[in-house]
Symmetry: C3
Subunit: 311 residues, 3 copies
C-alpha cells in the first residue's frame, strides 16, 4: 500500500478489514511509529477523524502534527498557472511539497464544495496531495470518498458475525446539503465483505452510477428494510442535480417502527448524527454507533501501521 | 477519586493539597501516564489551564489531545429530545461518548453563560460529560466551579506557612460580567485548610448562600483587609440579579494603600488580571500571582496522577 | 547562546551555520530534549515555521505546546501602566511570565503591524518576551527580523558550494504590503558567509540604513542579476514611507529571461510565494525553494539543541 485514499490503494481489502477486527479484540500496539511523524491537515472541521487518527498514531508511538490549514496558516490556491495577485497566499503544490518534507505520512481532510461536480469528482485537493507529497497520503475524507470510515464500517459489520448479512444503505433527511462521500465509499467497500446490498433513497437522490451500479436500488424504504441485518443511515445531496436537495415525499427518518420491519438489524451511522432528523433517539440509543466510532481508531491504526511498515 | 469536578469528588482534600505542595518542592515525575491519553476539550478560551494541564500530563508521560470544540469540530446540542434540524450538528451525549472512547481521561472547560441561572447552576455541560463519559472527567472550570484553580490556591496559601491565616476574598472591579465560579470554588475549598475567612464585596454581589453561608461577610473592604494575611482578589457578577453588574459606590480596585491595612498580606489572583482595574500595577508586581500560576501545573499533575493510579 | 532572536545573540554564526549544514547531511537526532518542553506562541499565522519548529523539537525528544494566542486564549495588552478596562484581557508581561513558567524554551511569532515604524522597530512584542521570560526565547519572526529563516538561508547558500558567490537580494511584486523582516535579517546574516552582495529594488523601497549600509544597491534589476550565483527574491513595503507601497515602473517579477542573465543562479524564496507575481512558475519549479524550506527544520533543530545544551 503506497497511499490510502480509496479501496483501490489496498492490495487485499479483506486482510486489512480483518486486521482492524483483530486490533479491536487485541489492541496491543506496535512501536513501529517511533521517531516518525504524521501530519494531519484539515481543510474542514473534524472530531472523530481528528481524535481517532491522532490516538491511533500515538498508539504506534508516532509524533503528531495537526494543522488547521486555513485558520493556522494560509489561504491556498488550487489552479495551475494563476497569477496569484488575489487572496490566495500559497499554491497547493508548494504547500504539499513543504509539509510532506517535514512528515513521514500526510493525512488530509477536504470536503466537497457541492458547487462544481466536475471539480469535486476530479478530487482536486486530494490529487494535489498525492501528486506533490513526497510521503504516503491518507485521505481523512475527500470530496467523493471516506475510506477510513468505510474500512471502519466493514470491520464493524464483519464483527457482528452474521454470514452474508443483508445490508441496507438508507438515505435519511438532513437540514443542509451533504456530500456523497460516505455513501459512495461505503458502496465501494461493501463487496470486500460478503453481503446482500440494498440502496434506498427518494427519487432525485440517485448516487453516481460508478458507485451504485450492480446493487439493488429502491425508492421504497420500508420494502428495503425487510429482513435487513444492518441499516446504514446517511444523508446525501443530489448527484444528478449536483448539490441540490429536491423535495421528498413521505418521511425518511428512521424510527423504531421502521427498525421493527428488519430482522433485528443493527443501526449504523458515521456520526455526527442529527437526532430525531436522521433517526429517532430510541433508534440511536439502541444502536452500535459508538462501537462503530471507536473502530475508527483501529482502522486508522491498521492503515498507519501498514504504511509505516512499507516506508 | 473517580472524577475531579468539585471538592466533593475528593476523598481527602488535605492530602491532595499536600501532594501539590510536595510536587512543587520536588517535581519529580512519575511515568504513570505512559501509554495513556488525556483529551482536553475547550468550549471556551484558555491559557493557564490549557498550558498547565498539558504540561502536567506530559510530565507524567501522557499523550495529550487538544480539541477547541466549536472551532475544530461541531456546534453541539445540549437539550434532550430536540429535533436537530437547526444549527447544532451533534448532541453532547454523542460527542462525549465518542471522545471518551479515545481517551483515558477527559478534561473539559465550559463557562457559565450568565443568562440562565438555573441552567448554569445545573451544570448542564459538565454533567453531560460526567454522565456520558466512559472515563474520569476533570473540570478545567465549569459554570459554577473551578476546582483546579482552588486546589492550586489552597496549596499556594498552605505554602506561605502561616498557621491559621486570615484570608480575605475581595470582590474587585472588571469591565465585563464574569461568572462566580472562581469565588464559589475558593469558598468550597477553604475549609480544607485551617483559615479565618472574610468575604467582602459591594451590595448586590452576594454569592449563593450554598457557598457563602457560614463565612464572615462585609460590605466594607477596608475593614475586611485589617490583619489579613492573604488578599484573594476576584471579580464576579451578581448572583441574585443573575449576571448583572449593579452600580458600585466607592472604588474597589486594590491599591498599595489598601494592602498597607493588612498584616503584610500576600496578594493572590487567578489571572488573567486587568491591571489597574482589579489591582494596581504595584500590587501585582509585588505579589505571588506567578507562583500561584505555576502551581496550576502541580495541581493538575496531582489530580492526573491520582486518577491514573485509580484507572 | 542565551536567546535566539537576532544574529547578535549568536556567539559564532559560522559554526551555527555549519551545524545546520551538517544536520542536513546527517540528521541523526540527539535526545537532549527529552523531558523538556518548548512553547510555540503564535500571534500570527504560520505554516513552515510552525511545522518545521515542531518537527525539530520532536526530533530532539521535546514535548511541544502550541498556542495560537489570540484564538485559543486572550487579547493581550502591550502598553505599560494602562488602566485595562477595554478589550485587552491580559498584559503581555503576565502572559509571558506565566507561559515561560511552564516551558523550558519559548518561541514566539509576531509580525510587524506596518502602522507605526517606531513601535515595530522597537520590537515591542519580542522584547516583552525577552524581558519577562524566565527561559530562553526563540524568535519565529519578529517585527523586523526572521533569524530562523536567515540561518536557514545561509546554510542553503553555503550548501550550494560556490566560493564567495554573488548573492542578489531582489525586491519583487506582491499584492499587499509586507514587513521588511526577511530582507533585514538576510542582510544581517550574509556577512557570516563570504559573499558578494547586491540589493536591487525600485525607488522608494530602500531598506533601513542599519541593515542595508555597506552593500551594493541598484535600482536596475537586470544589471544586478549579471553574474549572480544566487537570486534571493522577496517583497517588502516601504521603510521610509512606512508600510506604503509606492508605484513601481517596469515589471519586477522574476522570469526565466531574467534568470538567463545570471551565472546559472539558484533561485531562493522563503515561501509562501505568490506564483507568477513574485516569480513565474518556471523559475519556481526549477528552484531550490523546497530544499530551502526543508532546511528550516535543521535550522530550528540546531538552535534548539544549542539552547538546550546551555540550559
Amino acid at each position: 500500500m503506497k497511499h490510502f485514499t480509496s479501496i483501490e490503494d489496498v492490495d487485499d481489502p479483506q486482510q486489512l478489514i480483518q486486521q482492524v477486527v483483530d486490533l479491536k479484540q487485541n489492541p496491543t500496539s506496535s512501536s513501529v511509529g517511533r521517531q516518525k511523524t504524521v501530519g494531519l491537515i484539515f481543510f474542514n472541521p473534524s472530531l472523530r477523524t481528528r481524535l481517532s487518527t491522532q490516538k491511533a498514531a500515538q498508539n504506534l508511538g508516532m509524533d503528531v502534527i495537526v494543522l488547521n490549514i486555513s485558520k493556522d496558516s494560509w489561504k491556498v490556491e488550487f489552479e495551475d498557472g494563476t497569477v496569484m495577485d488575489g487572496i490566495s497566499q500559497e499554491h497547493i503544490k508548494d504547500t504539499v511539497k513543504v509539509i510532506s518534507s517535514y512528515c513521514d505520512i500526510l493525512a488530509v481532510r477536504s470536503f466537497a464544495t457541492l458547487r462544481d461536480r466536475e471539480k469535486d469528482y476530479g478530487e482536486q485537493v486530494l490529487n494535489n496531495f498525492i501528486e506533490h507529497s513526497s510521503v504516503p497520503v491518507i485521505s481523512m475524507e475527500s470530496a467523493t470518498l471516506h475510506p477510513l470510515q468505510s474500512l471502519t464500517d466493514m470491520a464493524t459489520i464483519a464483527d457482528i458475525g452474521i454470514k452474508k448479512p443483508k445490508v441496507v444503505l438508507s438515505w435519511t433527511p438532513h437540514p443542509k446539503p451533504l456530500p456523497q462521500a460516505v455513501a459512495n465509499s461505503f458502496l465501494q467497500w461493501l463487496p470486500a465483505i460478503e453481503a446482500d446490498i440494498t440502496i434506498t433513497h427518494p427519487q432525485g437522490y440517485e448516487l453516481a452510477e460508478s458507485f451504485a451500479d450492480g446493487f439493488m436500488q429502491t425508492y421504497d424504504q420500508e420494502e428495503a428494510f425487510k429482513d435487513a441485518n444492518v441499516i446504514y443511515a446517511k444523508n446525501w445531496s443530489s448527484y444528478t442535480d449536483y448539490g441540490a436537495t429536491p423535495n421528498v415525499n413521505g418521511t425518511w427518518t428512521i424510527t423504531p417502527e421502521k427498525m421493527a420491519l428488519t430482522n433485528q438489524a443493527e443501526f449504523m451511522h458515521c456520526l455526527p448524527i442529527r437526532r430525531n432528523v436522521v433517526a429517532s433517539d430510541e433508534v440511536i440509543d439502541h444502536s452500535i454507533v459508538y462501537q462503530q466510532a471507536k473502530n475508527r481508531e483501529y482502522a486508522a491504526q491498521a492503515v498507519l501501521q501498514n504504511l509505516l511498515e512499507n516506508l
